[in-house]
């Protein structure tokens, strides 16, 4: 897999850095980082599906929502313990991933993106009218059991999850499977011409993505303690995930993580100055500048900067 000493060093430094954070920053910042951690998980999930295979999903909250609602309903309405409900949520989300896979067998590009958007709208409407006694209808649910108390514990749980997902996917994507998934994104015809099953590869990508989305969605909801359809199945949420992955560096693992932290902090630090939706103007501007300068994202900027530093040394 081509592992080098500096890979271990960088991952080690990353993990140690995260573990020390609660000692270094305020509780408020820590709460912001928790959101960044979950956004990073969602961005990795999006990237496995869209960054690799090129099937751009505009409806990723569809998957996240399935995981979140499954565990919320099971724990709150049926008293199922989270040890059971979260694995069920992940499996249910994977089934949802197969639903998203169906159109990807026939259509590509913007058509696929539009269909995923429709999936998100569809579940948004359905959740409000089908069995509102279970889903909580338009209001959603509050009082979903939380797993942790306080910012520090919440941070450790989310950071542990994020690192586990990131490290697992990083290792997996360094295998030939990762290469093949990227190949699907670059030229699906040639993948088939080389004797690989594009369908099977897409299925793997969609199932992996769904599993991560389900896992992230479930833990996220057990952190928040509330679930509201309008906040979850929202186009801005979908775009934030996409922009996090793209701004950080699609088709990498650490890129979406960087992007998620960058976006979360950008939006959070702008809040005192621009409390309303104007903030999104700034973040749109930053994204635009970055794409003009380096379409491969922050990860590539850092990589090239590092190469230049090493070249000078």
């Amino acid at each position: 897999m081509g592992l080098r000493w500096y890979h271990f060093a960088l991952w080690g430094a990353f993990i140690v850095g995260l573990a020390l954070l609660p000692e270094l920053v305020s509780k408020g910042t820590l709460r912001t980082i928790i959101f960044a951690n979950y956004l990073a998980i969602f961005a990795i999930s999006w990237d496995v599906l869209s960054g690799r295979t090129g099937y751009i999903s505009f409806g990723h909250p569809f998957l996240i929502g399935i995981g979140a609602y499954t565990t919320a309903i099971l724990t709150k309405r049926f008293g199922v313990p989270v040890e059971v409900s979260i694995p069920i949520a992940v499996l249910t989300t994977m089934a949802g991933g197969l639903i998203v896979l169906l159109p990807a067998l026939r259509v590509k590009g913007s058509y696929f993106a539009m269909i995923t958007l429709a999936f998100m709208e569809l579940i948004y409407q359905l959740v409000q009218v089908v069995r509102p006694d279970l889903t909580g209808g338009t209001r959603g649910m509050s009082g979903v059991p939380t797993l942790t108390r306080g910012a520090v514990n919440g941070f450790y749980l989310s950071a542990f999850l994020m690192v586990s997902v990131a490290l697992t996917m990083w290792l997996l994507m360094r295998t030939r499977l990762g290469t093949a998934l990227s190949a699907v994104g670059m030229n699906e015809e040639s993948v088939r011409g080389s004797g690989l099953s594009a369908t099977r590869l897409k299925m793997v990508a969609f199932l992996l993505s769904a599993a991560i989305a389900g896992l992230g969605g479930a833990f996220y909801i057990h952190y928040l303690g509330t679930i509201a359809p309008r906040a979850l199945f929202e186009i801005n949420f979908a775009f934030t995930i996409i922009v996090a992955a793209l701004i950080g560096g699609a088709s990498t693992i650490i890129g979406p993580v960087i992007g998620a932290f960058f976006l979360t902090f950008l939006l959070e630090y702008l809040r005192p100055y621009l409390p309303g939706a104007e903030r999104y103007l700034i973040y749109g501007g930053v994204a635009l500048l970055l794409y003009m300068y380096q379409p491969r994202g922050i990860y590539e900027v850092i990589r090239q900067g590092w190469a230049r530093v090493r070249g000078l040394a």
């Binding site: 030939r176 290469t179 093949a180 990227s182 190949a183 670059m186 030229n187 015809e189 040639s190 993948v191 088939r192 011409g193 080389s194 004797g195 690989l196 099953s197």
Partner: protein
């Protein structure tokens, strides 16, 4: 019986018929060229052998029937494909591009990689370069190399000279000859460039609007007006 036997092959895109009962035989170890203008159905013919189109008729390789099988089975049975305009994975290194071809023949990776590097020493020098930054000739080499990574018994090459300088065309021709001579690979190419086809192949088929209009050895067809017609159009 011939090695690659295409019998009354018809191919369809939806309701449009691109090939009309095309029959074509290739003997083991020979180089056969399919010559025709744009839209004659050359790429469709190769796509059909790979199981990528909807077809009627029968295609056999040795004693195996290829028709109705999946592309991945067809590759495993020994058909390698270097598609039109190379169709590489642009943001991957040369090496990764080659390795994507190697999924169906995992046990032969070292041997095949060695063969590719022998045929194209430049690919070994540039194995960490992204193919999007390479010249047309180098990309064609990667494309041929990727097809060779599948351990093919018969290699299908779609327009090997398209967009390449005459000097590079000669290099490609030389490599294809070495493949035939030293590695015993049977080769089927499609060409618009009739002169290139005449200089490389042993036998030719002329394809026009989905029909085979002429076939024969290089000597038989060299001065045939139908070849010129297919080449220059009407």
């Amino acid at each position: 019986m011939s090695f690659l036997d295409i019998d009354k092959l018809s191919a369809f895109y939806g309701k449009a018929q691109a090939l009309h009962e095309v029959s074509l035989q290739v003997q083991e170890g020979e180089i056969v060229a399919i010559v025709g203008a744009n839209g004659a159905g050359k790429s469709t013919l190769l796509d059909s052998v790979m199981g990528l189109t909807k077809t009627g008729g029968v295609i056999r390789l040795g004693d195996q029937v290829l028709t109705g099988r999946s592309s991945s089975e067809i590759v495993k049975l020994g058909v390698g494909y270097a598609p039109e305009r190379f169709n590489l994975f642009p943001y991957m290194t040369v090496r990764d591009n080659l390795l994507v071809g190697a999924y169906t023949a995992r046990d032969d990776i070292a041997h095949n990689l060695d063969m590719v590097h022998k045929l194209f020493p430049r690919l070994e020098e540039r194995e960490h370069q992204e193919t999007s930054t390479q010249s047309g000739g180098e990309r064609q080499m990667v494309s041929l190399g990727r097809a060779l990574m599948t351990s093919p018994r018969v290699l299908l090459v779609d327009e090997p000279t398209i967009g390449l300088a005459p000097k590079v065309c000669l290099e490609i021709a030389e490599v294809l000859r070495r493949l035939q001579r030293e590695f015993g690979v049977t080769i089927v190419i499609t060409e618009q460039n009739a002169n290139f086809a005449l200089s490389l192949a042993e036998r030719l088929y002329v394809l026009e609007s989905g029909h085979v209009t002429a076939s024969g050895t290089v000597e038989e067809l060299r001065d045939d007006p139908r070849l010129a017609e297919a080449y220059f159009g009407h």
